[in-house]
Amino acid sequence: MNVRLSLVLGLGLVGWGLPVLAHGVVLEHRQVGSVEVVAQYETGEPMANAQVVVYAPDNPTEAWQQGTTDDQGRFSFVPDETLPGSWEVMVRQAGHGGVMTIPVSAAMADGAPPGEPDEASDSPARAEGTELEPNSGPNSVISPRTSLSPVQRGITIGSVIWGFVGTALFFARGKR
């Protein structure tokens, strides 16, 4: 039983909102880029209540944040904008899980124009940003295997089984 972790990055929608002042109450809002991790078993079952440990790029040995996934296997966190680089997220449940690397660029922090959370956009990096956008396509820790199409996988499985059957037939051919 392996685990497929797919990743959806909500892109940086950073910008200072207008402060609202009324009777001494200060409310302000600020949109920051968050990362959403979706963890599911190979069968498509979500990994509910799995443990998640987030490691910041500057300290890959100490947990930066810990939490658990929800019923849908989702977990969101807001990476520290002052720490661009490769963030690592480990998801574990009952001996199953994996680690994935999430590239976070400083562009997420630097006043990116507001927009809808963007999934899998192939747009080129913005002109103002020297850094590339975080890879926003669904990411997977087991990418080598998921790259096989169902047909390819079926053929491979069929060949392996036929290999065993062929071996059996070869040795069972009897005395000549």
Binding site: M1, E42, Q51, E62, I142, R153, F171
Partner: protein, 214 residues
């Protein structure tokens, strides 16, 4: 219950390969001592294919799901051929369907293969320990014990390996509870595999008893 890559430390993976190497060598030596070592190869090949396919049959047991393993059955029917059969089956499972991993192949093979050899020895005791029972009952009971214990012992090894290797940053309590739940989920599966092994063995006993002699 295959352990995927990245869960165990390098030392544990290396130890797994060492144990598997030793067990493979021992099994092959025992096979070579048989009067006709290749005689059981067709049987072993077909059951390796069955083992390879079995792990894609899922039975959902929250919080995860379990799948058939058939290691006890392989032990009962194949004897010393079971270990190489499981090793090869696991290699292809890791490669083709992504169950387990290449770094953990040694650990997984030891975890499932050694209980299979245990199952074989349990089944072979049917004529000495089971003297007081009548013939079909005796064979059936020991086949059940072999099939169920083969999986049960493998699940215990899995439990121990995971609990002893929880990374420090993880909430150990929660992970232990989750692993324990998953291991308990293997008890009904052990019953299923025990029954399946019994049915197969009783069928073979009726149609081709010499298969069970080896």
């Amino acid at each position: 219950m295959h352990i995927p890559d990245g869960i165990l430390s390098a030392q544990v993976c290396a130890a797994g390969y060492a144990v598997t190497g030793l067990a493979t060598w021992y099994s092959l030596r025992q096979i070579n001592r048989q009067p006709n070592p290749t005689a059981a190869v067709p049987k072993a090949s077909l059951l390796t294919a069955a083992f390879f396919v079995a792990s894609s049959i899922y039975i959902p047991v929250p919080p995860a799901s379990v799948h058939l393993i058939l290691n006890g059955l392989l032990g009962v029917v194949l004897g010393y051929f079971a270990f190489p059969a499981i090793l090869i089956g696991l290699f292809f499972q890791a490669l083709v369907i992504g169950h387990g991993g290449i770094t953990t192949l040694g650990v997984n093979a030891a975890m499932m293969g050694i209980p299979a050899l245990l199952a074989y020895h349990i089944f072979q005791r049917r004529n000495s320990l089971g003297k007081f029972l009548g013939e079909p009952t005796r064979t059936g009971l020991f086949a059940f014990l072999g099939g169920a214990l083969g999986l049960g012992v493998a699940a215990l090894i899995f439990l121990a390996l995971i609990i002893l290797n929880i990374p420090a940053q993880l909430d150990g309590e929660a992970e232990r509870a989750a692993v324990l739940t998953l291991s308990i989920a293997h008890i009904p599966l052990a019953m299923v595999e025990g029954v399946f092994t019994t049915m197969l063995v009783l069928f073979l006993r009726r149609v081709k008893p010499e298969i069970l002699e080896g």
